[in-house]
């Protein structure tokens, strides 16, 4: 508890730094591109169009049974790419700020935190693409859309926890960067982005897949988000529990691991 309080005080003192770092990343990302921030919307939108065409023509059977495939797909894409981007960038964040960390004292967790926050800001912009897709496909707007904040915020906490662990690992073993890349690709196929595991025909292998996929926290976040936005239902208690607990556990483990090794970072960079 005392530890938590110290973290909070530190955070309060350096909140402007966090804000400025996010601002810097944002400026640098879009500096000198003609469309600038519009790419945050255009990119997922174009990806969505490509994938909808692919999955509704070439591999038609997959999209069967899903009400509004475009919206279903783009929610999966957006949330997964948020998780993917947040964790991957957070992983290299401590290493890439080595020049600064060697010269000035700054609480080190600010760098993973900043990268995950930046990814969230990006993700929020991308939600404009979701709105566009919903309008175009005439998807009904449910009041339960507000509840989508819950899976989004818990996913943020979850990504931060994972990001902290990865950032720590990356300092000592650079290999993790390549490994994680492979891992997230595998994870993507088990996050049910372009298919509905519950809607597949039952066979032993599908049952196994359903079981397997339910151990994937990212799948839970995506499903909860889809439930409230697309189906207009409330969050189930299982979703509330799984999303919340995964987030908090990841964050606590992340903070503990990070804290344990952070004093050694400067010696290994």
């Amino acid at each position: 508890m005392k530890l938590f309080k110290a973290y909070c005080q530190d955070f309060f003192r350096y909140r402007y730094l966090l804000y400025n770092l996010v601002g810097r990343d944002f400026k640098l990302k879009y500096r000198r591109s003609v469309l600038g921030v519009i790419w945050s919307v255009l990119n997922p939108l174009l990806m969505n169009v490509v994938m909808v065409i692919v999955f509704s023509t070439i591999m038609d059977m997959r999209s069967a049974g899903i009400k509004n495939f475009s919206v279903y797909l783009i929610i999966g894409q957006l949330l997964f790419s948020f998780f993917n981007e947040a964790t991957s960038v957070a992983m290299g964040s401590v290493l890439s700020s080595a020049p600064l960390l060697r010269k000035v004292y700054i609480p080190k967790y600010i760098f993973p935190l900043e990268k995950v926050t930046f990814s969230l800001v990006n993700c929020l912009f991308s939600f404009i693409a979701l709105i566009i897709v919903m309008v175009v496909t005439r998807a009904p707007l449910h009041l339960t859309v507000i509840l989508a904040l819950y899976p989004l915020m818990t996913l943020f906490v979850f990504s931060l926890g994972i990001g902290l662990i990865l950032a720590t690992l990356a300092v000592f073993f650079r290999d993790i960067m390549h490994l994680w890349n492979v891992f997230t690709t595998a994870l993507m196929y088990f996050s049910a982005i372009f298919y509905d595991p519950m809607g597949l025909q039952t066979s032993p292998s599908v049952l196994f897949l359903q079981k397997f996929i339910s151990f994937n926290p990212v799948y839970w976040y995506i499903t909860a988000f889809r439930g409230v936005v697309l189906d207009g239902r409330l969050l189930t208690s299982a979703e509330i529990l799984v999303c919340g607990i995964c987030g908090i556990v990841a964050l606590i483990v992340g903070l503990l691991v990070f804290r344990k090794y952070q004093d050694k970072f400067v010696l290994h960079m």
Partner: protein, 244 residues
């Protein structure tokens, strides 16, 4: 009152002879029993105090541990043994322009670097003109920093770091960059800060500069504290050994 208390501080580095940066190499070396580190003490049992209002000099040859000591004081390194206590805020000038992003403009960097040092944007806003005036770079404010010369970067770094009235200012050979006019300006600024109660720690290879500014000096040699005391005694002893 002691502003900085350094008690029995040792700093050990593991100089990995074969630096293993990947898992595979690490395990290979571990299996082969090759995973050995050369221990290297950059600092050994250093103890001294700096009192409030001191202008404290650190001298010693290259590799004597001066910079390491500054980094321990400013919290970048955690000492392997011993403790350091610092009262109040520290403005570290370990390297001018640490934390600048070369792709951003000077204006953006002033805000970014100010918040790195823990200042609020409002405060930076108020002092913005003063920073610009001191660094004499008014015409280049919206140019990305990568187009700046090293002297220009040093100026702006110094201006930001000294805009507050920190309790402790740590300066590592920063005055060696920039032309003599700017050096004079910096020294004047530091004297001014000191009159207002800032405690200074200065590392310099210029013994004249130390003699001119400091009232106390510590002499480090190969990581050990050789001598600490008032400027004249220590500097004379240092000169006697190294200039004959």
């Amino acid at each position: 009152m002691n502003m900085i208390e350094i008690e029995n501080v040792s700093m050990r580095f593991n100089l990995a002879r074969e630096k293993s940066e990947s898992l595979k190499e690490y395990f290979l070396q571990m299996v082969q029993g090759k995973l050995h580190f050369d221990e290297f003490y950059a600092l050994r049992n250093v103890t001294f105090n700096v009192e409030k209002g001191d202008f404290f000099g650190l001298i010693g040859l290259n590799g004597s541990g001066k910079s390491t000591l500054l980094k321990v004081i400013s919290g970048v390194y955690k000492p392997t043994e011993g403790t350091t206590r610092v009262k109040g805020t520290i403005a570290p000038l370990i390297e001018l322009g640490a934390g600048f992003d070369m792709d951003l403009t000077a204006r953006e960097n002033i805000y970014l670097n100010g918040t790195v040092l823990g200042l609020t944007p409002k405060y930076i806003q108020e002092k913005f003109d003063e920073i610009v005036e001191f660094s004499e770079l008014k015409d280049f404010l919206d140019v990305p920093l990568k187009n700046y010369s090293s002297g220009m970067i040093a100026r702006i770094g110094f201006a930001i770091a000294t805009i507050t009235q920190p309790d402790v200012l740590i300066a590592d050979e920063i005055l060696s960059v920039g032309d003599f006019l700017f050096q004079e300006k910096c020294e004047k600024r530091m004297q001014h800060l000191r009159e207002n109660g800032t405690t200074m720690i200065l590392v310099s290879h210029s013994i004249q500069q130390i003699e001119r500014n400091c009232n106390k000096v510590a002499w480090l040699e190969k990581g050990r504290l050789k001598m600490v005391g008032d400027t004249k005694t220590v500097c004379d002893a240092y000169k006697q050994i190294h200039q004959e």
